[in-house]
Amino acid sequence: MISLTINGKEVQTPQGSTILEACQQAGIPIPTLCYDPDLRLAGSCRMCLVEIKGRPLYAASCVTPAENGIVVETESPGIVAARKVILELLSARHNFNCQVCEKNGNCKFQDYCYQYGIKESRYDYGEETNYPINDCNPFIERDYNKCIMCTRCVRACEEISIARAINVENRGHHAKIATAFDGNLADSPCVFCGQCIMVCPTGALTSKVSAGLGRAYEVDKVLTTCSYCGTGCTLELNVKNDCVVGVTSNRTVTGSPVNKGALCVKGRFGWDFINSPDRLTTPLIKENGQFRAAGWDEALDLVAKRLGEIKTEFGPDSMAVFTSARVTNEENYVAQKFTRAVLGTNNVDHCARL
């Protein structure tokens, strides 16, 4: 352990920590934009600047090692002024329309502008940086007029999804995120996993499937397990008014032991079958070749009666149950118990092989 002073308080931190990590362990908030604990450090946005006594330059805390005995200030007037400059520079090319933005209320850029009182920008690039909103896929909306060039999406695509679909194009004020040849995601190696949305700190990348259905502060997040493939990724169902309106990632190791927040296109964007108008809502009984709606009592009595009759007349082994690789363990247990204990046969199987 090493020991350093942050904002006048002595703080202990393991050898090899960065100043940012030392601050986080000590509960001292540091604004960050490009930093992501699961991604390679970029050290590029400079939001996380701190002042170290005796050093002439401010240091980006996410990439600066914590050293024994250093004295750090995180919100000194000089630091605050520097952060304001950064935010104003970013604001100059930002299309603020928070009132309709999916990210409103859950946006780091909005939070920091509020925190540091950025009402208007002193900077003007003279020429518009007005990017068309890329729309040619049903999953992801990219609005680079809200991009702050933190490159988290690029790194997530490269390091978590290993798709390398996007990169930084151009330099300076014209720098932007783009696929090769600045085309559509659908024509790139993109696999629509949405890891880029997961890490984007602003409303530049958002889910089209969830668009307009509810913002972060309106939804409850319920941690559960994906119902598609056998990988068993955990995900959060976003619920508003008893309706699933989106899927987000839980990025902790305990909450998400298999995938640490990474998902695929089915897990992240394939949830709205839940609300499909095709869902069955009442029992159906077939009469003269046509289904008619029925109450539970009628349907259950009919099933019990017919199964009972067939059991008596033809014996238990004339019946079979197909249980499901899709339903829960508890339901599979009940299904085989029902088959064995109630119907009296071992004719129970599911489509594991198919």
Binding site: P138, S227, C229, T231, L237, D278, N346, N347
Partner: protein
């Protein structure tokens, strides 16, 4: 899986992927494998008739003929034995049956396997050496290995390969079947199989049966039940009078759909419990609406034996109820009272009867998960099986396996081999993904993948309509001209009700042990229309 998903990201120094298009079917596992190969220096061997995403970054890619898996793996073992790369300490201490197996292997030189598999002998050698010499090598497979008449043989072959090199019982080694559906593992663990109760306790075992008879308070049958495909066949002969289907869609997923349709038509009473009116539900006498995963509590067990919570987020639509509530109601009305307060109470009953789950409770997995076997509340769970080569049955048994040809062979009339699988954007029979707006918008229909050379010879253009036929039927769809598939092989997916690929597959050739249909090999022809 004998081992854990996380090990594929770092511990495995070599990964042999056979019959798994991992980046499309298990995308997040695919990401981990890619990360290991591209950033952590792991070596990658891919054997697949299709040039998958992983094949493109493989150190050795072997596009073997569909159905030639045994020949390919045997030839790799031949190289390993002949070049002195076998782990004889491991074989001596932990296995039996080596001699018999080695005797069969001796004829499978790479040169012998080359014409069978279509893989150059030199590539087989390279793959064998890489796998044997990497220190920790893992094998991943999926339906591409199992959906053959020799599916069981294929799996035993890769187990032979792992034991031959001692690649078992350590992190980053093992034999890892990647399960296709979210809870296949759990359905098997819970005894959703005709021959076993929970945790694979045999119904023919008197002690096991007595235990369940005592717990459930009724006498139980000690005779193995019928597997799914046999149920369909018996139904065809009028011997199945009642069928109760929970959330399955055999009318899309089973081979030779017309056969299934006829069979269902002959069953006196069909009950289907599902979230949608599936193709199968249309044949039901009674349909019972059930809750989907977002509307109930419970657990799923993933492909690495990890038991995780499913949590209720919203109410089920209309009058839909959870599957377990519905079945308890039916049981009770049939004179066997069954009722539980909630899913946790069911899980508590499961624990008492299921040794591998005995140590798992909702409380223990509230903030995390556990991998079975987990026999006691103190047990931390089991990330990898057969630790230090200690097999649960004592010694690991080699199986001597000779190569046999696929059941269906191509001929003049049906000169191509059709193989079926999944797309990244859809899932199984499509009941869910076809109703997920974005997925269905992105990939609205099946395509027939065909090699450019083949397409040219048949006058087929990219996106042009084709008719693909097998001895069972034909379908029309768009062609996708791509070098994903080799000349002679064509591929399509089975998600789409409009073009149900299993109209084309055969139910004639089943794996004799596992009764898996030969989905991956059908003789076929393609015409431009």
């Amino acid at each position: 899986m004998t081992n854990s998903i996380g090990e594929l990201e770092k511990d495995a120094r070599c990964i042999f992927v056979i019959g798994s298009n991992t980046t499309e079917n298990h995308p997040v596992i695919g990401m981990k494998i890619k990360k290991n190969v591209l950033y952590n220096g792991a070596r990658l061997i891919v054997a697949d008739p299709r040039r998958t995403d992983l094949a493109k970054i493989a150190d050795v890619y072997m596009p073997h003929q569909p159905g030639s898996d045994v020949a390919l793996v045997n030839a790799m073992m031949n190289v390993i034995i002949n070049e002195g790369l076998a782990n004889h300490d491991f074989i001596a201490q932990h296995t039996e049956g080596y001699e018999d197996m080695a005797a069969v292997i001796s004829k499978f030189t790479p040169e012998y396997a080359e014409p069978i598999t279509g893989v150059p002998a030199e590539d087989i050698r390279k793959a064998a050496r890489l796998y044997a010499q990497s220190g920790s090598a893992a094998i991943c497979y999926a339906m591409g290995l199992t959906q053959h008449r020799t599916g069981t043989d294929n799996v035993k072959s890769v187990c032979n390969l792992a034991m031959l090199t001692g690649n078992i019982g350590r992190p980053g080694t093992g034999v890892d079947p990647l399960r296709g559906q979210n809870n296949v593992q759990g359905a098997c663990d819970m005894g959703g199989l005709p021959n076993v109760f929970t945790a694979y306790q045999a119904v023919t075992n008197d002690a096991a049966r007595e235990k369940f008879e005592k717990a459930w308070g009724v006498p139980l049958s000690g005779q193995n039940g019928l597997v799914l495909t046999d149920v369909i066949n018996k139904a065809h002969h009028g011997e199945i009078k009642a069928l109760y289907v929970v959330g399955e869609n055999p009318l899309m997923s089973d081979p030779e759909l017309e056969h299934v349709e006829e069979a269902l038509g002959k069953v006196d009473f069909v009950v289907v419990q599902d979230i949608f009116l599936s193709e199968t539900a249309k044949y039901a006498d009674v349909v019972l609406p059930s809750a989907c995963f977002a509307e109930k509590d419970g657990t799923f067990s993933n492909t690495e034996r990890r038991v995780q919570r499913v949590r209720k987020a919203v109410s089920a639509p209309g009058e839909a109820r959870t599957d377990w509530e519905i079945m308890c109601e039916v049981a009770t009305r049939m004179g066997y009272p069954m009722s539980y307060e909630n899913s946790e109470q069911i899980f508590e009953e499961i624990r008492t009867l299921t040794p591998s789950y005995a140590g798992i409770s909702y409380q223990r997995i509230e903030n995390g998960s556990l991998q079975w076997p987990c026999p006691t509340e103190e047990h931390p769970g089991t990330p990898y099986l057969h630790k230090d080569g200690n097999f649960s049955r004592g010694l690991g048994a080699f199986t001597a396996i000779d190569y046999i040809t696929p059941g269906e062979l191509s001929d003049e009339k049906y000169p191509l081999i059709l193989t079926t699988g999944r797309s990244l954007f859809h899932y199984h029979t499509g009941t869910m993904t076809r109703r997920a707006s974005a997925l269905n918008e992105h990939v609205p229909a099946a395509e027939l993948e065909i090699n450019p050379e083949q397409a040219k010879a048949l006058g087929i253009a990219h996106d042009g309509m084709v008719r693909v036929s097998t001895r069972r039927g034909s379908l029309e769809m768009k062609a996708k001209v791509t070098d994903m598939v080799a000349p002679g092989v064509i591929f399509t997916t089975f998600h789409f009700a409009e073009t149900p690929a299993n109209l084309l597959t055969s139910s004639e050739f089943l794996d004799p042990t596992a009764k898996i249909p030969e989905y991956k090999v059908s003789a076929a022809k393609v015409e431009k229309i």
